[in-house]
Amino acid sequence: MNAMSGNYTTADGRKIGGVLMEMKNITLRFGGVEAIKDISFDIHEGEIRAIIGPNGAGKSSMLNVISGFYHPQEGEVWFRGEKRPTMKPYQVAAQGIARTFQNIALFDGMTVLDNIMTGRLSHMKSGMWSQAIWKGKAEREEVANREKVEKIIDFLEIQHTRKTPFGRLQKKKKKRVELARALAAEPMLLLLDEPMAGMNVEEKEDMSRYILDTNDEFGTTIALIEHDMGVVMDLSDRVVVMDYGRKIGDGTPDEVRNNQEVIDAYLGVAHD
């Protein structure tokens, strides 16, 4: 499949760049349990890459490996052409990888605006004293960061909740704020952990539009995990399918859809 090597053009005419991230022979164990078994795949610059699979397939573990939260026992993670040493999650974030969580992880008592501003933290350079007296660099930085955040608020159409405490929002709005917070970091690679969990069809459509627009508008590379096959197939350029920690399929949505092993995994054929 030529899509796997180098640049390619998607069906809707977007040009996809070279390899941004590559996972080589990743194996992750928890004690005696092998959550991920010898998996390799890559993510190209500018594409929307999905990781799907039934419950317990190891999708979230994979995302946690990418974001530096889990460290695989075997295998290598390559980012922008360099092998990544073992890193703490905040170091990974500083490299330009941001993520959202399946169980929304923001501050309930803080306003939506303040929550999104936390996404800018990795871009703030002024020192503690400067921040405390709110003069000079700190003030200029805050204004510049606020401008970036306001553009994201406008982009995700959450102006009306700007001053609302995060905890008071509905679930679907929370998901949007979570996405806003991740976008505020201006990531090169955005990881979305089940962005549409618990949404109805209409809300899923809205979310899909935001994901597509993010990719289109900011050129952000997106890797997402999702349960809902339909949504994933419409949204992503290429799909990795996992089952019981193994990779059972990798390719465009059409290729994956016709893959017998994938069909079996989803229809629930008995495992030996």
């Binding site: 608020i153 406008d154 102006q159 009306h160 508008e217």
Partner: protein
């Protein structure tokens, strides 16, 4: 035109900025672009538009706005807009669209704002009917709709969009971003400036200012052509009436395709030179209203009801001290507030108490509602509940009613300060003449009367006669003594009872619907001996009551038939009867017998229109067994009704309904106040 000036309110206390005092409007001000030029010369540095973007209120002065408008008009010339071409505008209230309205006229075109939530089919009808050459739309959503129908619109050559988001992948053969059109215009200034000047100078009183499509409750929408004379004369007269000046500010949030928005945000704004503020998004309206604090405000009755509901719910959650203060202060305000507002005599002690209430309760409530600075507020469109109306007035907000139509450039009647009542729609606006026909239908004639329905001479002729009188389709009468107009009902629904007295069902139904427990009411009585009613209870309100009183119920039907519910509804009906009895013209409409329907009237069953208006004839036909029972004296009736579920399946409901007699009252011709 001199006659107009004479009929304006003769208040000497006119603020200096008010331009609306000149006896006749000079030809220098005979078009919107000319008004723009005057505003630039007079108030060039003052704000003309504000819009909240990225969390900050951005503003444009008159000079800046004129520059933007001119750039766009030049851009229109560059894409080949010819005089008389129509420019469709589809989007929410944003300065860019108001500029488009003016730029289109400046370039010799005709702006046609379209309801932004219309589906592609409805837009297709309007764009095809007016033969739009250019469509200026807001974003991807609107672009998609127009592209979907573009094949059927051979005249449409250009689509211009404001918001670039998600637009990159589109084929841009016929698509141009708004800012780019302005850039093109600025770059081509040398080539087109003289032509633009020529077209601008050619505009006069009788050129079309705007074309607005009526919402079309009956049949296809009609394009109402309004000239500069219509808009400017009406704006001037109404601005004088309420002494609007340059320092007003308004929040433009009502649909741009509605005539009211055009009069407030373009007509009066350009005549007076005041600032139009646009909300950040449709969902931030309340917040933006609070930030702007407009001085002049318009909203439909539903809006005022909604705000009270929100306030009441919040107060129920407040601490006991606050609740006590609120309840006491509001009870006092209901008595005294409207009197103070109307300048009636009030004792010094009461005035003092009202001040105190203002400090602790009324002021903060006004502030939260974004009404701290409101000098004039209007409501129109439907009847407003007297309690709702009085609530706002008792807070010291000068809320008034007006009666208008697209065909009249809005204003037919409006209430002068100090003569405000819930049950009338006011006196004729300056320059408007009113005539009541034999049938009771209201006719008017004014400088604001529309030119024609576009490409529809038959409808024009049947609505407007040779002398310029226009039929409103509403029945009403001028109240003796005060000269106020009272609207009773749609003319075609008004009938007679067998004893010859007037039957106005909607008037009575509206009175009934003001009770929160009553969701819908259908009154029968045309060509009968007396009036009867079907009632629909409001499940939210009655259900809430049932919960608080530990009344168990399994279904809507069961709750509707509950004895205590029937008692409550009977009390409401008798209250309405008592109030009707004080009105000699409508006392015949008292309800003698009623029943509570076993199902909610529903648009899916064809009983209501999609905008929730009662379809009288269909209901009378479908429930004719119930109607007969109301008139044959029986005290209960068994019935079976077919219903349509939301997924389209059909089923039926069987029920036995109780019929009750309601107490009626002797006619007492005095007004209530007099009787007390």
């Amino acid at each position: 035109m001199t006659k107009l000036a004479e009929t304006g309110v003769g208040d000497p206390d006119i603020r200096e900025e008010t331009l609306a005092r000149s006896p006749a409007i000079s030809d220098e001000l005979s078009s919107i672009p000319r008004l723009l030029a005057r505003n630039v010369a007079k108030f060039g540095g003052k704000p003309a538009y504000r819009e909240k973007e990225y969390g900050i209120w951005q503003s444009w002065t008159w000079a800046e706005a004129a520059d933007e408008i001119e750039a766009l008009a030049l851009g229109f010339l560059d894409i080949g807009l010819d005089p008389g071409d129509h420019v469709a505008i589809i989007g929410r209230n944003r300065p860019q669209f108001y500029w488009t309205m003016v730029a289109a006229q400046m370039a010799g075109g005709v702006p046609v704002p379209v309801y932004q939530d219309s589906v592609a089919e409805e837009i297709a009808y309007v764009l095809d009917h007016c033969g739009a050459r250019v469509a200026v739309v807001e974003d991807q959503e609107q672009v998609d709709k127009v592209i979907e129908i573009k094949d059927r619109l051979p005249g449409l050559t250009d689509i211009i969009y404001v918001d670039k988001r998600g637009m990159r992948k589109y084929d841009h053969t016929h698509l141009t971003p708004y800012a780019e059109v302005q850039e093109i215009g600025r770059a081509a200034r040398g080539r087109h400036e003289a032509e633009l000047q020529r077209r601008r100078d050619a505009l006069g009183w009788d050129d079309t200012c705007v074309m607005l499509y009526t919402s079309g409750t009956t049949g296809r929408p009609k394009g109402v052509v309004l000239s500069n004379r219509n808009i400017i004369e009406t704006s001037r007269a109404s601005a004088e009436f309420d002494r609007l000046g340059q320092d007003e500010s308004i929040l433009a949030y009502l649909p741009m395709a509605w005539v009211g928005d055009f009069i407030f945000s373009v007509g009066q704004a350009y005549w007076c030179g005041f600032c139009v503020c646009c909300p950040e998004s449709t969902t931030t309206m309340y917040e933006n209203l609070h930030e702007i604090g407009p001085t002049y405000f318009f909203a439909p009755p539903r809006y005022f009801e909604e705000r009270i509901t929100i306030l009441t719910i919040r107060m129920e959650d407040a601490g006991p001290l606050k609740r006590w203060m609120y309840n006491r202060a509001m009870a006092f305000a209901r008595d005294v507030g409207p009197k103070i507002l109307d300048g009636k005599p009030v004792s010094a002690w009461d005035r003092f108490k009202y001040r105190l209430g203002d400090l602790f309760v009324y002021g903060p409530v006004r502030n939260r509602a974004g009404m701290s600075h409101v000098r004039v507020a209007y409501t129109a469109g439907e009847a407003i509940g007297p309690e709702i109306f009085d609530f706002w007035r008792s807070l010291g907000i000068n809320l008034k009613q007006l009666y208008g139509q697209t065909e009249a450039s809005v204003f037919i009647t409006q209430q002068p300060d100090n003569e405000v009542r819930a049950d009338t729609v006011g006196v004729p606006s300056p320059g408007v003449e009113i005539r009541i026909a034999e049938s009771g239908e209201v006719f008017y004639r004014s400088p604001g009367v529309f030119v024609e329905y576009y490409k529809n001479p038959e409808s024009t002729a049947s609505t407007k006669d040779a002398e310029g009188w226009v039929a409103t389709g509403d029945a009403g009468f001028i109240e003796e003594g005060t000269g106020h107009l009272r609207i009773i009902d749609r003319a075609k629904d008004v009938g007679k009872l067998n004893d010859g007295s007037l039957f106005a069902p909607k008037y009575v139904e509206n009175k009934l619907k003001f009770f929160p427990n009553i969701l819908e009411a259908v009154v029968h009585g045309a060509n009968r001996d007396y009036c009867t009613a079907f009632i629909n209870i409001d499940l939210t309100a009655v259900g809430n009551w049932a919960e608080r009183n530990n009344i168990a119920y399994g279904s809507y039907q069961e709750l509707a038939g509950h004895k205590q519910v029937m008692d409550t509804i009977q009390a409401h009906i008798e209250e309405v009867n008592e109030s009707l009895s004080t009105d000699p013209m409508l006392s015949g409409c008292q309800i003698h017998r009623f029943l509570v329907l076993h199902k909610e009237l529903d648009a899916d069953d064809g009983e209501l229109t999609r905008t929730r208006k009662v379809r009288r004839n269909i209901i009378a036909e479908k429930y004719d067994d119930l109607v007969n029972a109301l008139y044959d004296g029986s005290d209960k009736v068994s019935t079976e009704t077919e219903v349509t579920y939301e997924d389209g399946r059909k089923g039926s409901i069987k029920a036995t309904l109780e019929i009750r007699d309601a107490k009626t009252f002797e006619v007492r011709p005095e007004r209530m106040e007099a009787a007390e």
